[in-house]
Amino acid sequence: MFSGVRFRALRALLSDPMGALGLILVLIFVAMALFAPWVAPADPIKLNVMEKFQPPSLAHLAGTDQLGRDLLSRIVFGARTALSIALTSVGLAGLGGLILGMIAGFGPRWLDAVLVLMFDSMSSLPMIMFALAVITIVGPGTGTLILVVVLVSIPAYARLIRAQTLSLAGADFIVAERAMGASSARILFRHLLPNVVGPLVILLSMDVPIVIMLEAGLSYLNLGVRPPTPSWGNILYDGYTSIRAAPYMVLIAGLPLVLSTLGFTFLGEGLRDALDPKLRRGAAR
Amino acid sequence: MSEAVLSVENLSLRYRVPGGTVAALRNVSLAVRQGEVLGIAGESGCGKSTLAAAMIDLMGANAEVTSGEVRLNGRDILALSPAERRRLRGREIAMVFQDPMTAFSPVLTVGAQLVDFQFNLDGVPGREKWVRARDMLARVGLSDPELAMGRFPHELSGGMRQRAAIAAALLMRPAVLIADEPTTALDVTMEAQIVHLLRELQADYRCAIVIVTHHLGVIAELCDRVAVMYAGVVVEEAPVDALYHDPRHPYTRALLACDPARIEAATGRLPAIGGRLPDLSNLPPGCAFAARCGIATDRCRATPPPCVALGPGRSALCHEVTP
């Protein structure tokens, strides 16, 4: 019966043009990331100084950079970097936020007070300052980036989940469960979880592009992914430094950022409507 | 008999919904005279709240008037410009809602809002508006009106809020007061007090009152005439005593028979009206009540019922009723 619910949600998502578009864009990027070695026409880090700054052509569909590397291949492999960082960090942060938020919302009041104090002190730190501080201590790299994102985003997710849990814990259908003798575990996992996870999924999918941007931004500042690993931020940086020689590079490096942002945002908005039985399109009355 | 203050003539209204339209009102004609209390009774989905909203021109955005007129003091308000209609509301016609909380903004004091409602009174100093508001609160039975003026809506009890909402509606001395389920959200003791208050105010101000409610007890206590609605039509209209003691339409009879307050013996089992309301987006060709009616014939199912006049101020929409 539960799989039936999911299936209906998927159908509802596809019937919404924006949601379907978001899903398609996201799937394209995921496929690019998963099958990068097969999709990419060339090796993304192989140098060929003879062919540097080639504008887009049949041989190099997106042209080449200052070291003659195939840009399309770099963007395809860059999707791998961007998505693996964004999905891992957002996923870990979401899981952490879910657990801490539900504990805060459903657990004893003193624990709630302690957790809320923690969330508040975490989110009072400015994100970029915090990220720079962590990078200074731990050193730049993929792991650092993920750690920063997880630490910074957990409070926002946890607070959302806590608020949802608190408002639902007093709802009639939860009291009804208690009156029927349901255990706390059953109430938490069978009833609270499905009701709080929807808004979280939406928030997460809308935060993925923010993390992609953050990765690009920090890589652009040479504080994120280390060259020569292809990353959209690195490509953007290269493009910016050679903007006179090859103005197309910046545009081409910016395109995946724009498209993935739109894709995840549309998907998030589509999911919001699709996951809620009340907002589901075509729901028969 | 004096001229009607507010009349609805052959009004039909439908709502646009995804995948079609819902016929909320079909050819409704009703009138209320000065000093008269008209009750509109019916169950959920019968169109009574839509009718009340149409009377004061506060229909939802998806409502569409397909025919008919709403006349206030002889003028068709549906034909007026939006600005002219707005000027009528609050001054010539006012409304009291089921939930008195919605009548007031939560962030302003009751007094500030009551003064605000008098924005139409040009040239009257603020101090005088304040006094008028306070006097009106005293008139509707708030024991300490000066104190209540300074309170926020949520600081008043439900009964107090409904009194204040009535005060707000009567502040401009409207010719017509429309009350949609004015006592439904209240306890029995408070309901009795509001009914009592409305009767007193009506006697004092001689305004026309339209009470929309599903509560047959409230109608019996308060109204002079009653219109019973079902599936968007008025099925029976009668003076209150006649309606309760000699109901003619089968639906009115069934509705009265179901009311546990009218059944003397404690039985444990109560009569119900079997079946359900027809689909308003796909109405049957004949009488809308035919499927649930005990005396329905083939004619009832095939052709729409006529409006049968049953004496002064009495009529029923039924094939099987004879004068």
Partner: protein
Amino acid sequence: MTALLSIRDVSVDLSAGGWFGGTAPLNILAGVTLEIVPGETLGLVGESGSGKTTLARAVLGLQPISGGRVRFDGRDLIQPADFRAIRSRTALMFQDATASLSPRMTVGEAVTEPFAIHGVAVNNHRDKAAELLVEVGLPPEMAARYPHELSGGQARRVGVARALALKPALVIADEPTAGLDVSVQAEILNLMADLKDKHGLSYLIITHNLALVRHVADRIAVLYLGRLVETGPTRAIFADPRHPYTRSLTAAEPKPDPRKRRTDLAIRGEIPSILRRPNGCEFHTRCPLARDICRTQPPALKDLDHGRAARCHFAENTTEGGRHELEY
């Protein structure tokens, strides 16, 4: 017959909040004593703020009690585990039936949930759901619907089906017909009566609707400010209410007969706040018969004849005079 449910002197105090417990607790229920025997329907009547919903929750252990004792089927319920042990034999129906159903669960999942909770083996959940839905007069196809797709009456029936899934001994129904049309209200009440006969249920029906309680309850208990003010057989109470509050309530109900219009108010004023309980008899601020003693001496719940009791100084002797004064 021994009582199925018996509560003695049950009090509920809610802490009024504040980190340091500076404010006095809210005394929601003050020493309520009630009994329900098997097969009986008890109507619990009171205005909003009288504590009737709190009482229902206290009986089921959903609201911790601060004094008194709850017994179910001869066993004292003290620990949370004691209450959990009776959850398969009690059921609660909510005032807002739609809100009491999990919004992301289908009707079929909702009505069979009690089996899952109590580990009762069910061969085929689909058949069981269909059986329960048919029993409450709903088509089996309704199992695939979500709560928001139901009408008020349908949601109410689903609530009844779920309450009866485990064949409980006691069903507590909080305003079972609130928000329903009269024609649908009768259907729900008749269904509850049929199921009571069929399964030998006991009901505790919480309502402010006197017309309804007159038809369904064997006995009535009237609450005012969390205190029992009158209790007794329904017929006797309606024929001759002994507490002025009960009398005011019955008189306040609008009569669906224009020939019986009241000429004056049966009761004035509003229910006082439990933060400021009046001295003496707590009803004296609204009582048409209040005398000096009522303002100073709190009356006890006096046992009267025929299993009746009333909390009034003049419960035995005001009947005639009081009625004359009230009927004007």
